[in-house]
């Protein structure tokens, strides 16, 4: 069993029909006032429907909207960038110091290894003194001969001469 308010709302929305409609209209005390109220309610409904619906943007509004969005986006991008710039205003930040220190250490180690390798290379290949040529003066020592010894155990090279003129002990003077 519908209440009067329910029947009234349904009548305003034209939801009543048949004997239900005729019964309800017969029960109205002032039929003309009710019809006027119904007409007002319909007008209000149409107005609300028209005004509250999403209306398409005009050209100017569309471009203004686009521009505003671009400005907002750029401003948003600039802000963190500005923040980053202020944070890097000092070049020697702690992470960079750490990186610079590590890099310097690595370069130092590489150079040290390079220098040590350069020093070790001759040690392995030519650790002994090499004699390129040796001769005794044939006029002063016509029987003079030269021999070369390499004492690898002591890493000493010896030039051994024979047949040189023997000198008196006076020649040992300082």
């Amino acid at each position: 069993m519908k209440t009067f308010e329910e029947k009234w709302t349904a009548w305003l929305d034209d939801q009543l029909s048949g004997c239900e409609l005729s019964d309800f209209e017969a029960s109205l005390p002032d039929k003309a006032a009710a019809h006027a109220e119904k007409a007002e309610a319909k007008k209000l409904g149409e107005l609300l429907k028209r005004e509250l619906s999403v209306h398409p943007l005009k050209n100017e509004e569309f471009f203004s909207h686009q521009l505003r969005e671009t400005i907002v986006r750029e401003t948003g991008e600039e802000r963190p960038e500005r923040g980053r710039r202020t944070s890097t205003s000092s070049w020697w930040t702690i992470p960079r110091l750490v990186w610079a220190g590590t890099a310097s250490l690595a370069v130092f180690l590489i150079c040290t290894m390079f220098v040590m390798h350069q020093e070790r290379a001759p040690e392995e290949s030519q650790y002994l003194t090499q004699i390129l040529n040796a001769r005794v003066d044939p006029v002063v020592s016509p029987n003079g001969t030269v021999s070369i010894f390499e004492v690898k155990q002591d890493r000493v090279t010896v030039i051994w001469t024979e047949g040189l003129q023997t000198l008196p002990a006076d020649y040992a003077a300082k």
Binding site: C111, V115, A121, Q126, Q130, V158, I159, L164, A172
Partner: protein
């Protein structure tokens, strides 16, 4: 980015320069030594201690006495110098640095008379010993050591 590159280049240059500088300027000791047998041998000069055993064993003398010496610092490897005693002179002419040593031209003079000439690549880790003439009861030795 540019700053870090500049810093890296500076570090490399400083490190390599320091490493190179630490390798240069070596001293060459050259000595005229009389090896002889005596009843009470004198202590051996410090420059010869490293090869004392070899010299005594090789030449058969118990005393090594320095009669002339010279110590030269080589900066360019092109220097020349003279180690002299009263009658002998050893002229050393460095003719450049090689990998691990120096090329030296050596001339032994008795007064103004050239007795011996040799060219050697003197290793920084290997002394050179030259047996010279017999002097009285002993033996003249020429010794070159990179210190």
């Amino acid at each position: 980015m540019h700053q870090s590159l500049a810093v890296a280049i500076c570090v490399v240059l400083l490190t390599t320069t320091a490493a190179r500088a630490s390798r240069s300027a070596e001293k060459v000791w050259s000595g005229l030594v009389i090896a002889e047998n005596v009843a009470e041998p004198q202590p051996i000069p410090s420059e010869l201690t490293r090869i004392e055993t070899l010299l005594k064993k090789f030449f058969g003398y118990n005393q090594l006495k320095v009669i002339g010496q010279s110590q030269k610092t080589l900066n360019t490897g092109q220097e020349d110098w003279l180690a002299t005693s009263k009658f002998f002179g050893l002229h050393v002419d460095a003719r450049g640095e090689t990998q691990g040593g120096y090329v030296l031209n050596l001339k032994l003079y008795k007064e103004k008379e050239l007795l011996l000439e040799t060219e050697a690549k003197l290793s920084k880790r290997s002394p050179l010993v030259i047996k010279g003439p017999q002097v009285g009861g002993g033996q003249l030795l020429l010794v070159l050591v990179v210190q």
